[in-house]
Amino acid sequence: MKKYITLFHINWQNSLQYRFSLFVYIGGYSLYIGVLLYLWSAIYSEGQSVGNYTLSQLTTYYILQLMINSIIFSYVSWDVIDNIKTGNFSNFLTKPLDYYMYWFTINISGKMLESIFIIITAGIISFFVSDYISFPEHLSTKLYFLAAVILGIILAFELDFCIGMITFWLTQVRTFKYMLQTMILFFAGAMLPLDLFPPVLTKAAEFLPFRYLVYFPISIYLGKIENPLPSFGILIVWILIFFILSRVLMSRGIKRYEAVGA
């Protein structure tokens, strides 16, 4: 455990170096969310409405999505892919570190700074649209939301790690990864709330694990789910499934590994 705490600390300090990149990224993403907020308010100002969402629910949805994109989603697979492709992975085979735990630690510590920045940014944006932000009434809702976010971080990492593991089988993995990532964002509800989709797609999204990354926590926050406990059960099952899948892919992958370039 101690070695992972050290790792956490080192990577946290590393990530401080990239403050500028973070500002840039958050700036770009806030721009995107800002435009979407204009889009929705234009639609609602014409007296139209979208599904059973009020304007303030939609606004809240996208501001939470802005935060979730930084806090929940994992993007370490870019580095995992590089690590395996360049042959640097060989170093790990000789170290007493678990590869899965290594990247999990990197993921969490790399996110800390980003999460702090994004919460500040979301706060600033919320200030400008404060008339259109809704807050949950009950303490239990807040706690459920927090639990969903924490479990979401774990599931998102597992999905991302599995994508990274594909590198052992496919060398041109980047394009493939990009496509998968877009599919995940789509079915997670990152682009549009899932219950606005046509029934076929809404149904499909229900059977996929991705909804637990974005749609599920935000729906809890907005009070759209009366009793979230059964969904939490399914979420935990998904987490276990992808944990096992990660381990299996990793051990199979290591057997296939050819140490390219090393």
Partner: protein, 266 residues
Amino acid sequence: MLRIITRYLRLYKAFLFQSLKEDMTYRSNFLTLVVMDIGLVSISVILFKVIYGHVNTIAGWTFHQSIILIGTVGIVREMAYLTFRRGFLELGNHIRTGTFDIFMVRPIASNLHLAMRHLSLSESLGEGITGIVLVVYGILHLNNWSWISFPLYILLLFNSLMVYYGFSLIINSIVFWVVRSQELNTIIYFFMETSRYPADIYRGIGKVIFTFIIPIGIIATVPASALTGRLGWDFAILSLIIGISFLGIGLFVWKMSIEHYSSASG
């Protein structure tokens, strides 16, 4: 002046053939990229379709008019990849490793050399093709379409390309001051992603920002407005002025920033 232009055109042709050869070496990758682009564009079409399942118009734009917007973004992106876009994606690497030196010593303008060195047909070909298909599809569903708007549309596409180039120059110039920042291109990515929405959604201060400062509202909305018959002459001329200004400011900022370049190699 004319001699300079013909010289650059000749160079452009040579560079284009060179990059075509590179693209063709990895034919399967070429195909994957095209398929991926088509997939990504389909997702934006689906998203618009879903929204239009709930509403009739967005700030006055019908579904088929919005399809023209999506297509226009695709075409502008394709034009950018055939001219300057990938050069900027590689710029961070060049500066970090010091290979940017090459662009400083050649008898060509550094920004044009950077652009031509990295021409790419494969990277957004899918988006360009689907872009044209979507624009044509959208036009076929318009009631008040006339051929006269077509030359204006083409002209405004080039204007959008100018805005896009100027904006990219300004943003990417930051790399000379803050060396590690590939992420600058995320801003440009989101800049183009958000230009799909009709600029008529912006109100008040947003309208000013997204027309003059972060000109998202120019890229797709202005050409598409010409096609859908909602563009007045005054705004067309204003857009051209914005286009030329952005290009001018971009070149100026680039020139300033290049003087700040200190080689990392050697």
